[in-house]
Every structure is written in structure tokens, then in C-alpha cells.
Symmetry: C2
Subunit: 127 residues, 2 copies
DNA sequence: TCCATGTTTCAACTACTCGTGAAACGTTGA
DNA sequence: TCAACGTTTCACGAGTAGTTGAAACATGGA
């Protein structure tokens, strides 16, 4: 993920309402939620929500699709994952102490990647 | 990690110079670098650097200590790790697709955590 | 076609962040 | 004690983000 994209993702996430928005959208997955419902859930005015949605979409963290009168917003998991991955790998160079903070998540990640296989040995820490 | 702390960490990181600063500091570890050297490395004026350093320190991402005339700045790995962990676990609820983006880092994290042990089974994905 | 609904756009304002250069501060060595 | 050095603080101006309410736009149903 390019640096500029990461920067806009970070600044998009660095706002209370927008962080709430992502948290609301993540469990909905690709199905997403219409803007009106999001506004109700977060207690935001329509125009303010629209503003924040645009910021998140611009940053590649959410997507939108139109369904009749509604605009459905859903999280772009690859976008968020890319930003987090940048922080972890490119920015912190997978520093052990940083990774240790994410230990619980790492367990789940590895199970996902390895799908039950034995843990592969790391041969090249920089790859 | 508290929400407000995460928000200030994110907005501190959402700036080119400050992201550079963290990237510069991470490999130095606890040893850190004096402000002047950082300024030279990043091509920032002293006052600008001081501003950015204050923002990062305020957000709990770096620490400082005074050594004679110099102020040495070093990265606060737990602070950065905490913010990343929040994004991964609390915000994205360890969503498989997000974790998959961090697969390579996860391998290293798990090796760190398990220290060569066999991969433990996950019994409670929500824990 | 007309109206109601869902959503975005706009204009105006406020508040904040960023950057610059100068001044101030604290420490060290002469 | 004084000057030099490393760093922070300050005042200022420019630019950008955030909020609000009203208006505009698009769609679907009567």
C-alpha cells in the first residue's frame, strides 16, 4: 500500500465518528448498511454523515453501492487491512515488541493463513 | 487502550513527517536519537521538529529523556502496538480478511509469542 | 405528474493544524 | 561569568477540516 494512501486512511480513522462508523460497519461485512440507518445508529445529521462517509470512501476504507433510493455503505476490509499492515510491517518493521501487543490477533491470523497446518519456520525475517 | 488515546495516536501518525519520524526511530529502539540528529535526518527545522515530537509524545508514541544538552527521543513500542492492536481487535474485531492482510507479520508475531511451541488451538474466537 | 423519502451538495462560519522565523530557555565548556 | 549550542516556545499568517442548516437532487409510490 502506498504511503499517501496510508496517510489518508490514518487521518480518516483519526476521528471519533468515523472510527465508530467503521466499528459499526465491520460486523455487517459486505452486506453493509444504508446511510440513513448509519445516521440513526450514530446519532449524526444526514449532512455530517455524508461528509464522514465521503472521507472514508475517499481513503479507501469503505465502499458504496446504490440500491433504489438508498446508498449502502460497507467496509473495505482490504483497505483497512492494508493500512494496518503498513503500520505493522513497513513502519514498525515487525518489531517484536509491537507484534507482541497484537499477539491475540496474531493467533487468529495465523490460524487463518495456515488453516490448521503446523507453524512454518520463518527463514527470512525481511521477506 | 482507551479510545481517546487511540484517536490521538492515529491523528499523530496521520502526518508525513511524523510517520517518517517513527520509521526513523523504530530501528533505534530504546537507545533513540537526539532531536538535532532527527532534524538533520528528516530535513526539518528545529521548531517544526519540536512541534511534531511534542505531538507524538503527547499521543504516547514516543518518549524523551534529557542527556546533558540533548533531548533523546525513542519510540514507545507499547504505545504504537496498542494503537495497532486496537484497530485490529477492537475496531475490526479480528476480522479474518483484515488479519489476512497482516499474515506475514502474524507469522512473526506468533513465533514470538509461542517461541517455537506448537500452534495452540483457538477455542474462543471472541476472547 | 406530484409528493415523500433518502442522500448529497452548498455556503457560511468556527476551530484547528501546519509552517516560519525570532526569541527564550537551559546547559556546557572556556 | 560569558558565549555557544541544542532545544523549545511564541506570535503570526495561511490553509484545511469540522459543523450547521438550507437547498438541491434522485428515486419510488400514489
Amino acid at each position: 500500500m502506498e504511503r499517501s494512501k496510508v496517510l489518508s486512511a490514518l487521518s480518516a480513522l483519526a476521528h471519533e465518528s468515523r472510527l465508530d462508523l467503521v466499528r459499526l460497519l465491520v460486523p455487517r461485512g459486505k452486506e453493509g448498511l444504508p446511510a440513513g440507518e448509519i445516521a440513526r445508529a450514530l446519532g449524526l445529521s444526514a449532512s455530517r454523515l455524508s461528509f464522514h462517509l465521503a472521507a472514508l470512501e475517499q481513503a479507501g476504507l469503505i465502499r458504496s453501492r446504490k440500491v433504489s433510493r438508498n446508498v449502502i455503505y460497507s467496509v473495505d476490509l482490504a483497505g483497512i487491512g492494508g493500512a494496518i499492515s503498513y503500520l505493522l510491517a513497513d513502519c514498525c518493521m515487525d518489531h517484536p515488541e509491537v507484534l507482541a501487543c497484537c499477539g491475540a490477533s496474531a493467533h487468529r491470523a495465523l490460524h487463518l493463513v495456515a488453516e490448521g497446518e503446523e507453524v512454518p519456520r520463518i527463514t527470512d525475517p525481511e521477506s
